[in-house]
Symmetry: C2
Subunit: 406 residues, 2 copies
């Protein structure tokens, strides 16, 4: 038969979240009555605001009418939507916005722009797709930038090689840490000095609640060295509806002097056919003032969940980062194995988490807890965490103090 | 700056349909009052059946409720939808169905499965994305299989090299010609003999109105050597809604003996996040008995348009193929240039067509006419064609005979 792409042979293990599903299903097979609570995959659970669902209903309904039917959309997205998106970025024009069915797909497609010899730098830990996409698309050299407790989870970007792609997820998934304006300015400076290009994933930017930048384009000069991917998945609960976009400034050029945006237009028009027009109608409603207000309330609910989990962890004497500008907590268990911890919590506390090592070697001994669950479930998860981690004698003490109180 | 993927440098010209848009816009700039009729891109214009829009409305509406909200779906598609799709294929299991946002995206992603040295064979003319995707993904050798008048537009598949990917679009776009069971059986035989793999694009299969196979899996043994891509774009007017699927049988193995489906699962779960759940709800309605009946009526309207155009061409003394099992007509203009014809019809008859040469060198001297327009427009287009191509004296004669009749 035909030859396999040998880049595929290097992927022995399954994709992180499929492996988690497998272990979850194995537990349910052996213990069918277990009521598992997910703090695992960052999957949204809150209903979307009615202003968004109604826009999609209207659009879907109109598709059955002569006046409202629409066939293929513009290849790079609805012009009005591109305009609305561009308004959120300083100095970005609508024709630099490319509407997609989500960041994950564009992170793959973007790889096609670059020569296989292009070195890649990724935060360690980080969302596994940057590394997987780089390897699948034949990139030979990946530099991992450790995000550790000792550097406050802000890596040393000066490790980046000349002519690199630098993936930055900010706020970072899994650590939940957001970079400051000064930190991002120094990355932009390094990218310029090293003739490198930043691919900036802003999937969690809407959760930033202080004055950290929400877009790389808030940094001077970033338009020459940074592509930004964005998504409504976590911003507005579009994980299943599928909508995102990629910002490709005209200023970015390849080493040969050619403008990168022209190649991107070619790739997108050749290998993609636009995001679902119903999802685009939902996106337009999301970006309206009322939509943004409703989404902010939705995000705040997840952040409240994170606060709740963080407090529970603290009461168990566990330290965590994140949870303030992203609904992820990255919990430290020094000296222990992430997968062992994962299995322990799954089997004994019926909690699904994500092993930190699944996001890179520097994530070993950590677990990522996602606060995207429903409030009732998060409350229950917090109590499971306490039952599991609080020392037995402490629990006994507490129980007897309750008995005395009663 | 970073290095460009040098595979991109080979694409001088723009993507076919973007070039057509450019020329159309240039005409409208110089002649703003021109009322252009499109027989160009195969874009659907008929409203979708209400049974489909209502299913999507219900789903979208429920997303704003606690009970109806859904986050990430299953990575390979909704299990009930996969089951429903599998029922349409002899011998195919639900876990061999991968729901996507359309064939075009999967045609790109499928390339990742194969080594760069894998030879590729494509019908000439054919949908340009097979060739573009092959080149973008680094394939070095493409064999073109000419579909010519002298071979009834059925190419000589014995030209296929050992270990090839064989792209087959059936019914073919742009010729509209459907292969018979015997012809497809011989391709499957050749694929087996040559250790090759068929990528079978069935985008127009629902338009087949005789007993030609609608799926490659109607051919014995095809499960070992063929992947099939399918789409609701033309079957149900989903061009803007975006939904398709790819069938990957478990039997297919690479030369190294490993099952191809495992690598495909890895690629899909790593670089894709599922089709929009609203579009999937629409797909389930489409595949119901009532949905299929309504879609058949919709397809018949486009085929009636094709009949109308075919008659107009015939009355001008022009010969065409297609239009019977696909709403495309491939019109022969021996000795003339496709782009020259395109410009002539655009400027003089205000008709947008597609130059046959845009689908491959063997398409030179042809134009593809799409019958996916609205009936009124197709009728008007037919009359423009007649005014343009009928000899002047004949028109004069006709006009005077009408005067006499009146």
């Amino acid at each position: 038969m035909v030859n396999r792409n040998d880049k595929l042979a290097q992927f022995q293990a399954s994709y992180l979240f499929l492996e988690i599903t497998k272990r979850k299903e194995a537990l349910l097979a052996s213990c069918p009555e277990a009521k598992l609570i997910s703090l695992g995959i960052g999957d949204t659970t809150e209903p979307i605001p009615a202003i968004i669902s109604e826009a999609m209903e209207r659009f879907a309904s109109a598709l059955a009418t002569k006046r409202g039917y629409r066939g293929y959309g513009e290849p790079f997205g609805d012009p009005a939507l591109r305009e609305k998106i561009a308004e959120n970025y300083p100095g970005i024009e609508p024709d630099e916005i490319f509407v997609s069915d989500g960041s994950k797909c564009d992170i793959g497609r973007l790889q096609l722009l670059f020569d296989e010899m292009t070195p890649v730098a990724v935060q360690d830990p980080s969302y596994p797709v940057y590394e997987i996409a780089s390897l699948l698309y034949g990139k030979k050299e990946i530099t991992f930038l450790p995000c550790l407790e000792e550097n406050d989870f802000v890596p040393d970007f000066s490790l980046v090689k000349e002519g690199s792609l630098i993936y930055i997820c900010n706020p970072n998934n899994p650590t939940g840490v957001a970079l400051t304006k000064e930190q991002l300015s120094s990355v932009v400076k390094i990218a310029k000095e090293r003739s490198s290009l930043i691919i900036y994933d802003s999937a969690y930017a809407s959760y930033i609640r202080d004055n950290c930048p929400r877009s790389i384009y808030e940094i001077e000069g970033a338009k020459e060295v940074a592509i930004e991917t964005a998504s409504l998945s976590k911003m507005a609960g579009f994980t299943g509806i599928r909508l995102g976009w990629t910002v490709v400034p005209k200023e970015i050029c390849f080493k040969d002097g050619s403008p990168l945006i022209k190649d991107w237009e070619r790739i997108v028009s050749s290998l993609f056919n636009g995001a679902s027009n119903i999802a685009q109608a939902g996106a337009a409603a999301t970006l309206s003032a009322a939509g943004q207000k409703a989404c902010r309330a939705l995000q705040d609910r997840y952040l409240q969940n994170a606060t709740l989990l963080k407090a529970a962890l603290k009461s168990c004497g566990l330290t965590s980062v994140g949870g303030e500008h992203a609904p992820y907590l990255f919990v430290s268990f020094k000296g222990r194995s992430s997968w062992e911890l994962f299995d322990e919590l799954l089997e004994k506390a019926h909690l699904i988490t994500t092993p930190g090592v699944g996001f890179g070697v520097s994530g070993e001994s950590y677990l990522r807890l996602s606060a995207f669950g429903k409030k009732e479930e998060i409350e229950e998860a917090a109590s499971h965490l306490k039952s599991h981690f609080l020392p037995l004698e402490f629990q006994r003490l507490k129980r007897s103090s309750i008995l005395i109180e009663n």
